[in-house]
């Protein structure tokens, strides 16, 4: 009897420790999935060109800035970087202005087709960009928007807008309507109440949503590669020169793309969680 109980208990401990092992293994695997590529990227970026192509690897960066120097001096890189920033900033402005307006309307007003609209906002992500690229390119050439920062920013805004709308919707919904009503009774019109009461309260979240839009545009490569020729953004530029450029240029370029995105997303992560309905405070 006691022997059975003992083996039973032992088995339970075994099962529990096995579950624990699986849990930890899954965590390690997921972390490695994300961290190893980033680590390799950094190691190779911070090594000299000789080290990048050489063998065996040390796995430790030598903090040689030869690769970065080469990358910065590579013809067209700075121009592409400037284009990337320009397009990303335009995307950020457009998606916040349009997205915040839509988010406010969704959270404060009842209108016919509200549910459908919310659905459609998300549906815009369902169309694969390659499918739209050709008609878009034709349309842009006709209207003269091809190969311009604004044209590309408009496409990127479409990509970033669902997130901007959903994030700002949840932000505005988190502000009690009574605060606005109190402002109205205290002498504000609708716009003043928004500016003096709602805006200061949602500003951190709006900034987060703007940064997210920036990052989406910063990393987007397909539309950029199709719709621009002379005024390529950095990702498009790197894709274009992928097979003709040396390895260390690819690594340095990759790092240049990853670092801003990584920093931004890390800075605004709690607001992005808010988008999925997890408490943000």
């Amino acid at each position: 009897m006691t022997a059975i109980a003992e083996t039973d208990a032992a088995r339970k401990v075994e099962v529990r420790s096995a579950g624990r092992f699986l849990f930890i293994a899954a965590i390690v695997l997921l972390c490695a999935w994300v961290l190893v590529p980033i680590y390799l990227l950094f190691v190779n970026t911070l090594s000299s060109p000789q080290e990048v192509t050489g063998f065996p690897k040390t796995g430790i960066p030598s903090f040689d800035f030869g690769s970065i120097q080469f990358f910065v001096n590579f013809a067209g890189v700075l121009w592409a970087l400037w284009n990337s920033v320009l397009v990303a900033v335009l995307t950020m402005i457009l998606s916040i202005v349009i997205g915040a307006a839509a988010g406010y309307a969704l959270s404060r007003f009842e209108f016919p087709g509200k549910g459908t609209f919310r659905m459609l906002v998300v549906m815009t992500r369902a169309f694969p960009l390659p499918l739209l690229a050709l008609p878009l390119a034709v349309l842009f050439i006709r209207t003269g928007l091809d190969d311009t920062a604004l044209g590309l920013a408009i496409v990127h805004t479409v990509l970033a807008l669902p997130f901007a709308v959903l994030i700002t919707f949840s932000l505005f919904s988190g502000i009690p309507i009574e605060l606005e009503e109190a402002a109205w009774t205290l002498g504000c019109n609708r716009w003043q109440a928004f500016r003096k009461v709602v805006l200061p309260l949602v500003l951190p979240g709006i900034v987060a949503s703007a940064v997210f839009a920036f990052t989406i545009s910063w990393n987007e490569v397909f539309a950029a590669a199709v719709l621009t020729i002379q005024n390529r953004t950095l990702p498009a530029f790197l894709v274009q020169s992928l097979n003709v450029s040396p390895l260390h240029l690819k690594f340095a370029g990759g790092a240049a793309l990853v670092i801003p995105a990584l920093i931004f997303i890390f800075a605004v992560r709690k607001y992005l969680f808010a988008m999925w309905g997890i408490a943000n405070r």
Partner: protein, 346 residues
């Protein structure tokens, strides 16, 4: 000078009729309480007066000016919200000064008014704090101070005390009454708490299902309910009701005894009496005591009269215990009669 006149105001939300043709006049400097259970339309009516809700029909006049087409800021009102609505990104000082800055008053005048109202509400020491650093009661004070600082013609209050704990509510109630009487504004105060309504109001409007059932002084509402609903809603415990059958003109049979009543064509009425308006004696309503609850000076008896529940409040010196048979004699001048169908007082 801010008399409020509400003419034939109705409001429906989609298919739901929240208010049915409300007519109400509130005198200048009067303290009017809108009392009713939740969902009776009292808050909707207040929000229509504030301009936060648009009536489906009807007119709202404040101080001789028709305001139902005007936005809230042009109505000369200030409002205190149930959840206080203190702006979290501003200090207490800036919260109270908010409306004054919108009016573009000179800084000296803003300082004067903020300090005066803060003193009035005993929150001078909190002026530099933010809403997150305040307790519920303190936030409540800020909300009232912010409304008072506007020196409005009308102050509208939507259940301002309902989020406070019982003791604090008692304290704030007395304080509010004093402060508002001094400010000489017209006040409309929404509550579902009848004790609050009784203690604060000059006049109570009892609302039920989107209608004002009775608008009268607290004592009048308590003593002479205009409808069965008012009698059953106001008073704790509420009025007792017993079916009455006519035996002769002006004579009604109630639970086995014959009482003098109104001379009406109806064959049936409802007899009503407040629990404290019966005396233990002889020749009254035959009651069997079920529960005895001593309350100090009085005892609350829950009895059975003709198979129905009947509550009586009697002097605690009278010895009664569950199971006793009592004769409860209604005080004849306190007996009320209601129509069986319409529930209106007869």
């Amino acid at each position: 000078m801010a008399e409020i006149v509400i003419k034939n105001v109705a409001k429906s939300f989609g298919g739901f009729q929240a208010l049915h043709s409300i007519d109400l006049t509130i005198a200048d400097q009067e303290f009017m309480v809108l009392l009713g259970a939740s969902g009776c339309g009292k808050t909707t009516l207040l929000r229509i007066i504030a301009g936060l809700e648009t009536p489906t029909q009807g007119e709202v006049w404040i101080g001789g000016r028709r305001v139902d087409g005007l936005p809230p800021r042009e109505r000369g009102i200030a409002m205190v919200f149930q959840n206080y609505a203190v702006f979290p990104h501003l200090t207490v000082f800036e919260n109270i000064a908010f409306g004054l800055r919108m009016k573009k008053l000179p800084q000296a005048e803003i300082d004067r008014r903020v300090h005066r109202t803060a003193e009035l509400m005993h929150i001078e020491q909190l002026l530099k704090r933010y809403s997150g650093q305040l307790s519920g009661g303190q936030r409540q004070r800020v909300a009232v101070a912010r409304a008072l600082a506007m020196e409005p013609d009308v102050i509208l209050m939507d259940e301002p005390l309902s989020n406070l704990d019982a003791l604090l509510r008692l304290e704030m109630r007395a304080e509010l009454k004093g402060v508002l009487a001094e400010s000489k504004t017209t006040t409309i105060y929404v509550t579902h708490d009848q004790v609050e309504a009784m203690s604060l109001a000059d006049r109570i409007s009892v609302m039920n299902a989107g209608r004002i059932v009775q608008a009268a002084s607290p004592v009048e509402v308590y003593r002479n309910p205009a409808a069965r609903f008012v009698g059953s809603f106001i008073g704790s415990p509420p009025m007792n009701f017993i079916p009455a059958v006519k035996v002769a003109d002006g004579k009604w049979r109630v639970a086995g005894i014959t009482l003098d009543g109104p001379q009406t064509p109806q064959e049936k009425l409802e007899f009503a009496i407040r629990p404290e308006d019966v005396e233990v004696g002889s020749g009254g309503l035959a009651a069997t005591v079920r529960v005895v609850e001593p309350l100090g000076a009085h005892a609350l008896l829950t009895c059975e009269v003709e198979g129905a529940l009947f509550r009586a409040v009697v002097d605690s010196d009278i010895p009664v215990s569950p199971g006793d048979a009592l004769s409860l004699v209604p005080k004849s001048d306190r007996v009320r009669w209601f129509d069986v169908e319409s529930g209106a007082a007869v």
